[in-house]
């Protein structure tokens, strides 16, 4: 299933395969590409390989086979160059508990090579992600999961990288915040970012993503564009694919 995209691909998985030391095949020849101005949503159960994919893009682990490319740069060849073009929001953002939101932002922005921001810029971004003004100067220690998540997203925005990796970004957010977050993603897409997100949230994925991939046991079992899925019940498709894959799996065994 080749994806026809009008602009160049910023995030590419090319036969991406990862087998851990213990022999477990976490990712099995996965291929996809995310172009600038596109959102790619990975769906799948726990242990399907979503986080492994993101880890490979971040070069936290090395691929067993194939490669992950960021703007044409192979991540495990030149990780530092690749990471310059990446922003990342982890699942369950923790950050430094003894730093204030602003301090955390400042540290990570500068770590990402952005030394030109003023305090006001930080405040603006925090407001943009929906963190109340009064919380900006407070230490992260007392923050709720959702507030921390917002800081993590702010950090990713501040880096202003062409590609963004999101690992379960809405997991800690309340429905209103999650809704706002989707709006945010949309505007980021509008700025021409390539966004790869893993999520459990089928409905939001359907709302926002240009392309949806379903993963199961390390394989990309389905990949369809939004238009392609237009008339279908994604939940049903998801369950079908998961079940069907299981069946096939049991058959081959």
């Amino acid at each position: 299933m080749e994806l026809q995209s009008p602009s160049r691909a910023l995030l590419e998985a090319d036969n991406l395969t990862k087998r851990y030391e213990d022999g477990q095949l976490a990712l099995d020849h996965v291929n996809f590409a995310v172009a600038a101005g596109e959102i790619y949503a990975m769906l799948g159960g726990n242990g399907a390989g979503k986080t492994t994919t993101i880890n490979l893009f971040l070069n936290f682990i090395e691929p067993t086979e194939g490669e992950a490319r960021v703007d044409g740069i192979v991540t495990h060849r030149d990780p530092l160059a690749a990471k310059k073009k990446l922003a990342y929001v982890s699942e369950n953002v923790m950050l430094y508990p003894n730093f204030t939101a602003l301090q955390n932002l400042d540290f990570f922005a500068r770590l990402g090579g952005r030394t030109d921001y003023s305090k006001d810029a930080y405040r603006d971004v925090l407001l943009r992600v929906g963190l109340q003004e009064e919380a900006h100067g407070r230490r992260l220690k007392g923050f709720s999961k959702g507030m921390r998540q917002k800081c993590g997203i702010a950090i990713a925005i501040l880096k202003d990288a062409p590609a963004i990796l999101l690992d379960e970004p809405t997991s800690g957010l309340d429905p209103k915040a999650a809704y706002e977050f989707i709006g945010l993603l949309d505007s980021l897409r509008g700025e021409g970012k390539a966004i790869l997100m893993s999520t459990h949230d089928i409905f939001r994925a359907r709302d926002v993503a240009n392309t949806i991939g379903i993963m199961n046991q390390g394989k990309l079992v389905m990949q369809r564009s939004k238009q392609d899925l237009a008339g279908e019940d994604l939940e049903k498709v998801y369950v079908e694919y998961m079940a069907g894959y299981m069946d096939r799996e049991t058959e081959t065994v």
Binding site: N55, L58, F60, I61, P79, L80, A81, A82, K83, K84, L86, A87, Y88, S90, N92, V93, M94, L95, Y96, P97, N98, F99, Q103, F107, F108, R110, L111, G112, G113, G152, I155, K159, L165
Partner: protein, 471 residues
């Protein structure tokens, strides 16, 4: 980038309650160590002066230099206030005789066993035991803690070289501990001269090196903590490991290695040597006694007056005595030399093994620098022995005899009026103490070893972090 990480590390450490509490505890303790150390020095100095003056005063009114009871004392070492070493364990008072072996007695702990029960809280103890524990407390989760918080992932989503990161962490952690500690240390240093501890340039240099050794030692524990934290996944694991390492390195290895290795080398006991010496002396004396008897038989001339006979006899005993003393001192010197050789072998073995613990290395370096190492005893003995010669020459000049033979007084009852002696004519003994150049040279290998520990642990941390799974 490097600066950014250092800066973050500093801010992260300095802003915590953990830091505030430990810093407050350390600051109070360091100031206490300086203050009480300086006070102890003052008291010790006053006692020393009093003892010296008292000794001279007691001689006033004596008329015979042969009857003076002269004592010399070891003055307190200025830096012993901060690094007590063995200064409290060795004898401080020496009764000077014109001949024979000198023996120093009255060690502080022997006189006041109360202080021996818990010992002192000095700068060396603070660094060696307390600060090393705090260093672990600050760095045990340097790497795996960041991982647990997810910040390691987030940081490495940026293009950061790992070597830069780990170096930044270590430097940041070190500065966060070292700079605040400088404040109480500097205040303490100012206190020293104010409280009357005489500090010359050499002493300042040595104190500076002691502090440097302290910082190197802190560095060892920080690097080790970072190392272990880069080898383990969970901070609870690394803390437990570090605590065990700390217990073993700080509390167990120095003591156990010296006790076990020290006993492996056989050193003849002092009692045995003393016995051999006195046996030899008795034997010689017996021989000489027989010779004297024979001499009397052979040399009693008819018609000689008692006085003439005595004079000749005294001359003879004098000669015999000198020869005997010569032999005794040669024999003693040989025994002592042998014992000292054995002792130095024992020392080399025991301390060599103890040096696997950075704490032992640190203790050896600082006691050397402060002049309270094992060599203090030998140095004091050597200087007393030199003084003994001067003293003996002095007494000989004053009395015309060496106290070596027998003192035979004639004319028991006819007391002539003698002029009292002036005890202040006595040659002055002042223990020079360890020289800056010597002690620095002696401490250098240990300082080097501390640097080596730093390098090794840092390299370990570096290598394991390069392979660290940041996920």
């Amino acid at each position: 980038m490097f600066r950014l990480i250092v800066e973050k590390e500093l801010r992260e450490t300095l802003g915590t309650t953990k830091f505030a509490v430990t810093f407050a505890v350390c600051a109070v303790l360091i100031l206490l160590a300086f203050y009480v150390g300086a006070r102890n020095y003052q008291v010790g100095r006053a006692e020393y002066e009093a003892a010296r003056a008292e000794n001279l005063k007691q001689m006033e009114g004596l008329t015979d230099w042969g009857r003076v009871d002269h004592r010399i004392f070891m003055p307190p070492q200025p830096l012993a206030a901060l690094v007590s070493g063995v200064a409290n364990d060795i004898g401080r008072t020496t009764e000077v005789e014109t001949r024979g072996e000198l023996r120093s007695e009255n060690s502080r702990f022997n006189e006041d066993p109360m202080f021996a029960v818990f010992r002192f809280l000095d700068l060396e103890f603070l660094f060696g035991v307390v600060l090393s524990l705090f260093a672990i407390l600050f760095a045990y989760d340097a790497i795996n803690g960041e991982k647990e918080r997810g910040t390691l992932r987030l940081s490495f989503a940026n293009s950061i070289p790992r070597d830069r990161y780990i170096l930044g962490k270590l430097v940041g952690a070190f500065l966060a501990l070292a700079i605040p500690l400088l404040i109480p240390i500097l205040i303490g240093c100012v206190l020293l001269p104010i409280l009357g501890v005489p500090m010359d340039n050499g002493a300042w240099l040595r104190l500076g090196l002691v502090v440097l050794a302290g910082y190197l030692y802190l560095g060892v524990f920080l690097a080790l903590s970072v190392f272990i934290s880069a080898m383990t996944e969970r901070s609870a694991t690394s803390f437990l490991m570090l605590l065990v390492v700390w217990i073993v390195a700080v509390l167990i290895v120095p003591r156990a290695s010296v006790l076990v290795a020290g006993r492996a080398v056989d050193v003849p006991s002092i009692d045995r040597i003393n016995f051999d010496k006195s046996k030899f002396e008795t034997q010689l004396w017996q021989e000489d006694r027989d010779k004297m008897m024979d001499w009397q038989e052979e040399n009693s001339r008819e018609g000689e007056s008692g006085r003439e006979f005595f004079e000749r006899f005294q001359q003879y005993t004098q000669e015999l005595g000198e020869e005997r003393n010569q032999r005794i001192s040669e024999y003693t010197a040989r025994l002592n030399e042998e014992r000292r050789n054995r002792e130095s072998v024992q020392q080399r073995v025991a301390l060599g093994i103890a040096r696997i613990s950075p704490t032992a290395v640190f203790t050896l370096a600082t006691t050397n620098l402060a002049g309270t190492s094992l060599s203090l005893k030998h140095q004091y003995q050597a200087e007393s022995a030199t003084y003994q010669k001067i003293y003996s020459d002095f007494i000989k000049e004053k009395t015309g005899r060496t106290n070596s033979g027998m003192v035979i007084r004639l004319g028991g009852e006819e007391e002539e009026e003698l002029d009292p002696i002036d005890p202040y004519e006595l040659p002055d003994f002042s223990f020079a103490g360890p020289q800056t150049a010597d002690v620095t040279a002696a401490a250098l290998p240990d300082l080097g070893l501390l640097v080596l520990f730093n390098v090794v642990f840092f390299a370990g941390a570096f290598v394991s972090f390069l392979k660290y799974d940041v996920r």
